[in-house]
Symmetry: C2
Subunit: 338 residues, 2 copies
């Protein structure tokens, strides 16, 4: 099957219109009429770098690629609008596989109100996805950037942390965690739930909009890990972030997986990445209302620290020592060639 035939088949999966979409896939470009300001983000995922085909269904890969991109819009407090997909297809992925991948993507698009508005397809040595997502808001200053945190603001995070890293440690036939947790039932461990955090992340779009409306001063999504992403926010805002390790909402089961692999659960929560929760700063007096709004969006909001003058990120343990990451890099687990 040639590129054009596959494109035509894929286009049948793409809606020809959306709330702002005047012309969808099939012409030289898609036409939209944005009402107000737009936030645009691009994100690439490759087999062997960001996922492993042997650990994910193709539908999960398609869903995760869109989820990771939409998470950036969540962190802006944007309303999701259009998504465009570049699909690089390796020789061993057939038409049916491409359609399964797009089905996974389309399911998340439908569930989030995102219109798959166009794309391109090409041969590639490994499965390659490059997503472009466009979000909307009435005005440019309705978006929440990384740079507005002010000393005295509260620091909070949505959902739970560490689950995606724990899920990754449970994947694959050589999984050390899985072999040590020989009777997973004994631990009351929700292995499927942890693996889903890794393979089927959900962008916190509603929580992001609720936080923007509740007065968030800065926001970032946790794709690289709390430690690194907090550093990005602190750097962009020109502030220091003081985090209380004891307050971190660590996902159920993360401690057990960490123990089974001789790791510190804080490492999974702070350095693992891919939880796609939102890290947010807010004025103290906005926190309570923000927590209620985020809970209505289906997620807890936990205060984990405070914004201070200075620079950098400090994660303090209950005994007063500062947490030192041992450099857990979950991406290493996704590199079959290393």
């Amino acid at each position: 099957m040639g590129e054009f035939e596959l494109l035509a088949k894929l286009r049948e999966k793409l809606p020809s219109e959306g709330p702002r979409l005047g012309l969808g896939s099939g012409d030289d470009a898609a036409i939209t009429v944005p009402a107000g300001a737009t936030a645009t983000s691009v994100d690439a995922l490759l087999d062997g770098v960001h996922f492993r085909r042997e650990w994910s269904s193709l539908a999960q890969i398609g869903q995760k690629a869109l989820a990771a991109a939409l998470s950036d819009l969540a962190a802006m407090g944007a309303e999701p609008g259009e998504a465009y997909v570049v699909l690089g297809v390796p020789a061993d992925l057939d038409e049916e596989g491409c359609l399964e991948l797009l089905d996974g993507m389309a399911a998340l698009a439908g569930g989030t109100g995102t219109t798959l508005a166009g794309g391109d397809i090409t041969r590639a040595p490994v499965l390659t996805l490059a997503m472009t997502v466009v979000g909307h808001a009435p005005n440019a200053d309705d978006f929440v950037t990384r740079s507005g945190a002010r000393p005295g603001d509260a620091l909070a995070v949505t959902g739970e942390l560490g689950g995606a890293a724990a899920g990754l440690l449970l994947l694959g036939p050589e999984s050390e965690a899985m072999s040590r947790l020989s009777s997973p039932g004994d631990h009351n461990l929700d292995i499927g739930g942890l693996v889903a955090r890794q393979l089927e992340p959900r962008p916190r779009l509603e929580a992001g909009r609720a936080l923007a409306a509740a007065g968030a001063t800065a926001m970032i999504d946790l794709s690289d890990g709390l430690g690194g992403d907090a550093g990005h926010l602190a750097g962009a805002s020109g502030v220091a972030l003081k985090i209380d390790a004891a307050a971190l909402p660590i996902e159920a089961g993360v401690a057990e997986v960490a123990a089974a692999t001789d790791r510190d659960p804080l490492d999974l929560a702070c350095s693992g990445g891919e939880d796609y929760e939102l890290l947010v700063t807010l004025p103290e007096d906005c926190l309570e209302q923000a927590a209620r709004a985020v809970e209505e969006a289906g997620s807890p909001l936990t205060r984990i620290g405070t914004v201070a003058t200075g620079a950098g990120v400090e994660i303090k343990l209950p005994d007063g020592r500062l947490f030192q990451s041992t450099g857990f890099d979950q991406l290493d687990r996704c590199r079959p060639h290393r």
Copy 2:
């Protein structure tokens, strides 16, 4: 060097603002405030599929990736706005190489009024570029789609055809054309000019806007080749396109390169692709004014046929026979692994 350091270095090359850009690279998303309608296109280029690193400088590759994407905006008659780049970096491409590539891209961006507004970077098995470009117009119906051609319209093309295919045949140490054209000087052949058509294409943005303003009813850019792209336009418009082969503006030197490789020059002009000229339909009475406007934009406009009722594309030779492509596929030359 890690991803973040390279990203930071690349960001120094990216402007932090543009006519509509409120916030550039470095946050979760770029913020723009479009005034009116937008046209968005995505386009991927991979080493070994769309280019060969040994035949192009990195600056040329960066330039071509953006040019191919902007060509889609030219075909909409859009004013170029923002571009976003996903860069997949193989192990043998260092920081300096990435910066050279982005310099080539930035030069074309500057020359066309395009703002490089953001991007993502990742490791990849081969050099991979995925471009997203956004163009603008006051209203959605100011854009020219592929679907508005009407029977009786004139069919015209900007610039000259076949140069990119001829240029590709001249590239590489195993070039049959180059070895046969042993004394290129004898032929008055502008080898550099033909090679530049292949390696440094220019999007016809001004011509596209001139044609939109002059009443173009349908438009497409010639990336796949006149035969294929005319077929796309005919299909989208539900019309037949009758092309007079004798009228085709074949680039100087294409005949010589075709002769040296036992090909038909029409094959290079009709099936070679990558000329990135514009194929356009216009009411007869708009043609003269359109030609003047396109010439002011620096390019000839040549009438090559007529829109008729029916379906498909017919390319008629001077003796009345119909042209049959021998299936020249210049992409095959870019596949080192075949």
